[in-house]
């Protein structure tokens, strides 16, 4: 049996940045108590995020996403490879840490038992600068779809639903 971690990433008090955490909460509610899956939330990035994944075979990560001109509420199912292509390697700027891609690479080189399978559900955010515990309407509307996709993913089906994007 694969050890699976559902990881909602984001800040639950920063409006749309909380979308990953909201999805994780809803997934926890929907799962039977004895489901062989761990559900966690994390308001962190970089190395700490990588360290959270140690010991799992599979991680399904849900987070807010920001792209220029992106339409709020858009859901993307991405692989780590996708993340690698959009993580600019030209510059190493980071607020304090390093990107998840770099952190995972480092963890692997250190020989940490990290998951081979990482699936990312990214929801395009509208507002991540105002403090608030609610989501904007378009982002809130995306939550049930992402939850359904994650649940389907847990049961071994690729959780791509109509209207979902799998690239940029």
């Amino acid at each position: 049996m694969k050890r699976t971690l559902i990881l909602g990433v984001g800040n639950p008090i920063l409006t749309d940045d909380g979308v990953g955490v909201r999805v994780a909460e809803a997934v926890r509610e929907a799962l039977p108590a004895d489901a062989p899956v761990d559900v966690r939330e994390a308001s962190v990035g970089g190395l700490t995020l990588m360290e959270t994944m140690v010991g799992y075979d599979r991680v399904i990560l849900i987070d807010a996403f920001l792209s220029r001109g992106g339409i709020p509420g858009t859901i993307r199912r991405l692989s780590l490879e996708d993340l690698r292509t959009i993580s600019p390697t030209r510059h190493s700027a980071s607020a304090h840490d390093t990107s998840l891609v770099t952190a995972l690479e480092m963890g692997r080189r250190m020989g940490l038992p990290l998951p081979d399978e990482i699936v990312i559900y990214a929801v395009e955010a509208e507002n991540v600068t105002d403090f608030g515990e609610g989501l904007t309407p378009a982002v809130a509307a995306a939550v049930p779809q992402v939850v359904a996709a994650v649940l389907s993913e847990i049961h071994g089906h690729e959780g791509v639903l109509p209207g979902m994007q799998t690239s940029f």
Partner: protein
């Protein structure tokens, strides 16, 4: 100089923005550094019970939740008029030292180190923690991970939860430690001291052994003579958890020493039309613009500032390291104390000295017989009204100020976060870096971004708002305008949608 007001609408894109304006000769007239400001925090808090604040504020940022948690807990002490016991203070400070060890370690190896270990001109794809490990060996990478892991374990044990601690309460701490736990933490603290000494040696070998790097530290491009702020104990030694706020002038003379609760008497905030962020400055000196020197109220609060504002370190090995840094960088002793070091890149060195101090302090405290005192809570009996709590966050002095009604419901909140103290110096450093790279219309795009990044990386500004969202690095954009306001160059690392 024409004043440029930028339409605020363009400033809400949630990413770091640098705008550089050239004059008719093609030299830099001005540079602006904008960070997205998180808004509405006070409104978010008002109406909530004050005791929720240590749990709310540690969500402000994924980088230094422990610092917010501690400042908030201390604000509650003041708000409810309860004095924690000396055992509680020691327990909190020990916990806080463990946090400092992880934070400074992460910054040096993941963020600051690459500039030195690999050099500022190394390809950006290599200029990260992977490059550092590639150069200095996998063993060191393992040590970094181990260091983070063992201290996170302490933070979780004492804080009640990993990353976002929940143990702080007015006048107390929600759990004591057993003798068994004490012994375990003692071993961790010893390992931290060794690791800090090793890190300092690594820095000295790699940086001081390379004249090019030394010249870069000493170069004018990364030098500003400002006032310096930091928290000091009764001997004027650096302390992260508690003490008086001391400010020294650019010559190292004490300018003022005050209790953290009196911050509004000493620090005011200047507003610029082009950013929502306010620039704190020393009231008694006044705001003279983005300039350094004794006549300008700009001050700085970083690891280097803390060392400059103090007369020394409280622990023996850190004291040696401190003296070595000041001696090496040519600082003279005047009236028994070293003159401030103004080289911004020396902040990385200062950070490692602080790492050593945090490790030694943690060991001192965990060996203190009081640390296992089971009495870690006091009863709150006074009516709350107003309270200020202050700690040194890794990025600078952090102040939480709460006002409540008689039921402890928040009516007003004010925070001055560590990074805010440094906005003016960061803006100045960014401008200086741009000026050294852009001459007579020649824009050196290659390496420009990194040199500018280096300028603010030394300050380790906390822009955690940008770290939460994927792809997980700070989206930074540099735009260069000519004298007519036309865009001549745009360097971006934002995700472009195809």
């Amino acid at each position: 100089m024409k004043r440029i007001t930028i339409d605020p609408i363009t400033r809400l894109e949630g990413h770091g923005k640098i705008e550089i304006f050239l004059n008719d000769e093609g030299d830099v007239a001005n540079a602006y550094f904008m960070i997205p400001e998180l808004r509405g925090f006070e409104r978010f808090c008002v109406g909530r019970p004050a005791e929720e604040m240590p749990r709310i504020t540690n969500r402000i940022c994924g980088v230094c939740p422990e610092a917010h948690h501690m400042a908030s807990t201390k604000a509650l002490d003041a708000l409810f008029h309860v004095e924690p016991s000396s055992a509680v203070k020691k327990l909190r400070e020990m916990f806080y030292s463990a946090f400092y060890v992880t934070d400074h370690t992460t910054h040096f190896y993941a963020l600051g180190g690459p500039d030195f270990v690999l050099g500022p001109d190394a390809p950006a794809a290599e200029r990260n923690i992977l490059g550092v490990i590639h150069k200095v060996g996998v063993e060191i990478g393992k040590q970094v991970i181990d260091c983070r892991q063992r201290n996170h374990h302490v933070i979780e044990m004492l804080g009640g939860r990993g990353v976002h601690p929940v143990a702080g309460m007015p006048g107390g701490w929600s759990r004591a430690i057993t003798e068994e736990e004490r012994q375990e933490i003692e071993e961790i603290a010893k390992a931290n001291v060794d690791f800090a000494l090793f890190s300092l040696k690594l820095f000295e070998d790699i940086v001081l052994g390379n004249q090019e790097y030394v010249d870069m530290i000493l170069s004018d491009a990364y030098t500003h003579r400002t006032y310096y702020m930091g928290t000091v104990d009764e001997h004027n030694h650096v302390n992260f958890y508690d003490g008086m706020i001391r400010v020294v002038d650019p010559d190292g003379k004490e300018f003022v020493k005050y209790h953290p609760k009196d911050y509004t008497q000493h620090v005011a905030e200047h507003v610029e039309p082009w950013t929502y962020l306010k620039f704190p400055y020393l009231k008694a000196v006044g705001w003279k613009g983005f300039v350094d020197g004794k006549d300008s109220g700009v001050y700085c609060a970083t690891p280097l500032s803390r060392l400059n504002a103090a007369d020394g370190m409280a622990t023996p090995r850190a004291r040696e390291a401190y003296e070595k840094m000041y001696e090496t960088l040519g600082s003279k002793k005047v009236n028994g104390r070293y003159q401030p070091v103004h080289y911004r890149l020396a902040t990385h060195w200062a950070r490692l000295i602080e790492l050593l101090y945090a490790a030694e302090r943690m060991l001192e405290l965990i060996q203190d017989p009081e640390i296992t005192d089971p009495n870690v809570r006091v009863e709150v009996t006074s009516t709350p009204d107003e309270g200020v709590g202050c700690v040194e966050a890794p990025r600078g002095t952090l102040t939480h100020h709460y006002w409540t009604d008689e039921n402890g419901i928040l009516t007003r909140v004010n925070l001055i976060v560590g990074t805010t103290n440094n906005y003016a110096p960061i803006a100045m450093s960014v401008k200086k870096a741009a000026q050294s790279l852009i001459k007579k219309g020649t824009v050196i795009t290659d390496g420009l971004l990194n040199r500018i990044e280096m300028a603010f990386r030394a300050y380790d500004p906390c822009m955690a708002c940008a770290t939460h969202s994927l792809p997980g690095q700070m989206p930074l954009e540099v735009t260069i305008y000519d004298a007519q306001g036309r865009v001549v160059e745009r360097l971006s690392q934002y995700v472009e949608r195809v």
